[in-house]
């Protein structure tokens, strides 16, 4: 195998595929490598940890067809440090030589036959508008759990509701839910539980290149009973689906709220971020005293001091005090689209809802912090 390409293009490819390479030491050393395959003028780079697989495909100047497995981190670091300009990869026996300008690196490679054959789905079965998907992922992924002790909650549920896709995530303290009206249902086995990590990677990718205009770009999707694959631009992300019954989230959604607070999103966010400065251990709550004409925010941190802010807004209902984990609340307000945010509450110990004004597609449920 031998090919040549620009340094910056190669760094991008290696680093993107490398994100699927697990940092933990795996039983199989070949998993710390990236599979490079050159056919004609097309190079594909594959990284995997067996759960998540990322394949990046790009045009290069192909000289000899072939493939090899290179150490992921080392080869990425080497290419990144090279002088800008053309970089040549060429294999000989069990080695790969990376050369550019006056630099030459000869690295040992892993046997290609040992590299797992994962994430090789052929064709997308559904196309989703890229902007819509990206926005939905941004709004929902934040509520997924990072706690491996609750594996189901580390996933984002993709279900079909009224003929379109609904995305749901919860870490049991908050829940984000987004409907994608007008989307085709992903053909497959009904509800899919996609690891949030895969969607977060999808979110990090540069905008697709299928079309020049981002608004019309589409993301290809194909799902089977145990795997889902996304195609965005020149990148293909596949992930194993999580198995198990996702909790019944519908029963968490209150059908009626007596209190409703209507605020300007940016003003509210800025105030929350200011009072949050006093939070030290990420467990100090922010208290919201809702009253006619707006809300007062207070953070009392015994070690540091205290802060308070008032934000003007419309409030209907009974005056009430409710406290939240400030980061969770900020997460919810940030996720709202548009300039206005609605906070609906029942009382100090039941779930509140954060959503946009006249926006029925997204809602963020948040459990309060009980304070005495």
């Amino acid at each position: 195998m031998k090919f040549r390409s620009e340094r910056d293009a190669l760094v991008e490819m290696l680093a993107t595929a490398g994100r699927a390479v697990g940092s933990r030491t795996t039983s199989s050393p070949v998993l710390s490598g990236l599979l490079l395959s050159c056919v004609g003028n097309t190079l594909s780079v594959t990284g995997t940890d067996l759960d998540l697989t990322i394949v990046v495909t790009e045009e290069v100047i192909g000289i000899d067809d072939g493939s090899c497995v290179v150490p992921a981190r080392l080869s990425t670091d080497i290419v990144r440090r090279l002088e800008p300009g053309a970089v040549t990869f060429s294999t000989s026996d069990d080695n790969i030589t990376i050369s550019a300008a006056r630099s030459n690196f000869k690295l040992r490679t892993y046997p290609v036959v040992e590299f797992p054959t994962v994430g090789r789905t052929n064709e997308p079965t559904t196309q989703l508008p890229e902007m819509l998907l990206a926005e939905a992922v941004r709004q929902v992924v934040r509520a997924a759990s990072h706690d491996d002790a609750r594996p189901l909650l580390t996933g984002v549920l993709l279900s079909r509701v009224d003929g379109s896709i609904r995305m749901v995530a919860t870490d049991s303290y908050r829940m984000a839910m987004r409907d994608l009206p007008g989307t085709d249902v992903i053909s497959g086995e009904g509800d899919l539980l996609v690891p949030a990590r895969a969607l977060a990677e999808l979110q990090r990718l540069p905008s697709g290149t299928i079309s020049d205009k981002a608004e019309t770009s589409r993301v290809g999707v194909a799902a089977s009973s145990n795997e889902i694959t996304f195609w965005q631009g020149n990148v293909q992300i596949s992930t194993r689906l999580l198995e198990g019954r996702y909790p019944d989230y519908n029963q968490l959604i209150p059908d009626h709220y007596p209190n409703r607070l209507h605020l300007g999103k940016e003003t509210f966010l800025a105030a929350l971020r200011r009072v949050q400065l006093l939070v030290r251990d990420n467990t100090t709550p922010v208290r919201l005293s809702m009253r006619q004409g707006g809300v007062d925010l207070t953070v009392v941190s015994q070690e540091v001091g205290d802060a308070s802010e008032s934000v003007d807004g419309d409030f209907t209902g009974e005056d009430l005090v409710i406290a939240f984990n400030p980061s969770y609340l900020i997460d919810g307000v940030e996720a709202v689209q548009g300039d206005e945010v609605i906070v609906e509450t029942a009382d100090g110990s039941r779930a509140a809802t954060v959503r946009g004004f006249e926006d029925d597609q997204f809602r963020y449920l948040l459990m309060p912090v009980r304070v005495s």
Binding site: T283, T284, Q302
Partner: protein
């Protein structure tokens, strides 16, 4: 770094026992012991008259009684001690806001900021001692040093001494200057260093280390090999007079706990569990009283053979209800083999979160299935119950309401901190 020592350690002389004598002058000159008088009680405090017989704090009461059969045993009045402690801290607070209380009867002060106003450290210490005597009619010892450790050792050197010959009044104030600091420190037995308990002392003795000076002379590597990294490095530094721990005013409590020594060893697992649940309830009440919640629950068990076993579990979120703490504690208890019997049982909560924040969570119906504790709606309703129980107890007294685990033939038994804190009487 300051050459002038500015850290004061104030330590009341025989505090609880002295308060008892103060309130009942007929006790003056008598051997008085405050503590649990029962078979398993321990001495919390004793007068110098009792010390003359060899009685010491933390000694089993049985042993104390053997040494001094004529001693007067008193159960202790926590509320009264706390009241006088409050007056003491008012005096300390007049000198500097930099006061770090240690228990009711001890405190560290950093007077660096008060020197210009109040004069040199020794003068401040003497005035302080005089004020305590004038206003509280109690004595205290004051140690002055460049670090908390030196100050503490200095206050000990300032204490009155007892021998068979009788009571020898102490110096009251001892200041250890930076020039004599190492000489002073190195003369002490290693046991004088913080963090050197019997086990560590034994290991050090095996290295031929008797005094702090011996320890300071050893290469750090040698100590680390013997005691492990953290402890070795820490103790070596202390032995060289390096104690960077600053005086921290109002250091928040690190844990809240409740433990009891039983008058008879317990073997029945269901009985043990009942006690653990009861103690969890009491810990939860104290937590809520302090507007706190905790992430870590620890169960401590001392067996008949005196071996000590502790098990802890840290949750992903903070809890403050008796039910939640009890569930974790009962599970931890299940992991300990009671062997021939349990002598002492304790439940404590640590990883405390200030402000009483208790992050509620959805009832996803999977809390237990996932193997983690989650605040289910079940638990939330328990939180409501708990709040109601607290309110009823505030109004009608502690024994007015309780969980089934607290009920016996005599009605509702609610443990409280002040009930026989030093063992059954």
């Amino acid at each position: 770094m300051g050459e002038i020592p500015t850290i004061l350690h104030v330590d009341m002389d025989a505090f609880y026992a002295s308060v008892e004598v103060l309130d009942d002058p007929t006790l003056a000159g008598q051997p008085v012991i405050v503590g649990g008088a029962g078979a398993r009680g321990v001495v919390a405090s004793c007068t110098y008259e009792a010390r003359a017989y060899g009685v010491r704090s933390a000694m089993p009461s049985l042993r104390a009684r053997q040494l001094c059969p004529q001693a007067i045993f008193l159960p202790g009045r926590h509320g009264r001690y706390a009241e006088i402690s409050g007056q003491l801290h008012q005096i300390l607070g007049d000198i500097t806001p930099m006061v770090e209380p240690i228990g009711l009867d001890e405190a560290f002060l950093d007077i660096a900021g008060a020197l210009r106003l109040l004069g040199p450290p020794e003068l401040i210490a003497r005035h302080l001692r005089q004020r305590v005597r004038d206003e509280l009619s109690l004595d205290c010892a004051v140690g002055i040093g460049r670090s908390k450790m030196i100050a503490k050792l200095a206050s000990r050197a300032a204490k009155p001494r007892v021998s068979r010959a009788g009571l020898e009044p102490g110096l009251g104030v001892v200041m250890v200057g930076s020039d004599t600091e190492l000489e002073f420190l190195h003369g002490h037995d290693v046991e004088a260093l913080w963090g050197v308990g019997p086990a560590t002392a034994k290991r050090l003795h095996e290295l031929g280390v008797q005094t702090v000076g011996d320890l300071a002379a050893l290469p750090v590597d040698t100590v680390v090999r013997r005691l492990g990294q953290a402890s070795g490095v820490h103790l070596s530094a202390l032995a060289r007079g390096e104690d960077p721990d600053p005086v921290t005013p109002n250091r928040p409590a690190k844990s809240i706990g409740h433990e009891e020594t039983f008058s008879q060893d317990l073997v029945d697992p269901s009985e043990l569990e009942r006690h653990v649940l009861r103690m969890a309830e009491s810990v939860a009440t104290m937590l809520r009283g302090a507007s706190s919640s905790a992430r870590t629950v620890t169960v401590k068990v001392k067996l008949k053979d005196l071996s000590l076993h502790t098990r802890s579990h840290t949750l992903g979120r903070a809890i403050s209800t008796g039910g939640a703490i009890g569930r974790v504690a009962a599970a931890l208890l299940g992991g300990i083999d009671p062997g021939e019997g349990v002598r002492l049982l304790g439940v404590s909560a640590s990883g405390l979160l200030e402000g009483g924040g208790d992050q509620l969570s959805f009832d996803l119906g999977d809390g237990q299935a996932d193997g983690t504790q989650s605040a289910t709606s079940h638990e939330q309703s328990w939180q409501d119950v708990t709040a109601a129980v607290d309110a009823i107890r505030n109004r009608f007294g502690r024994a007015s309401v309780g969980s089934v685990a607290m009920v016996n033939e005599d009605g509702v038994q609610v443990p409280a901190r002040r009930d026989a804190p030093w063992g059954p009487s």
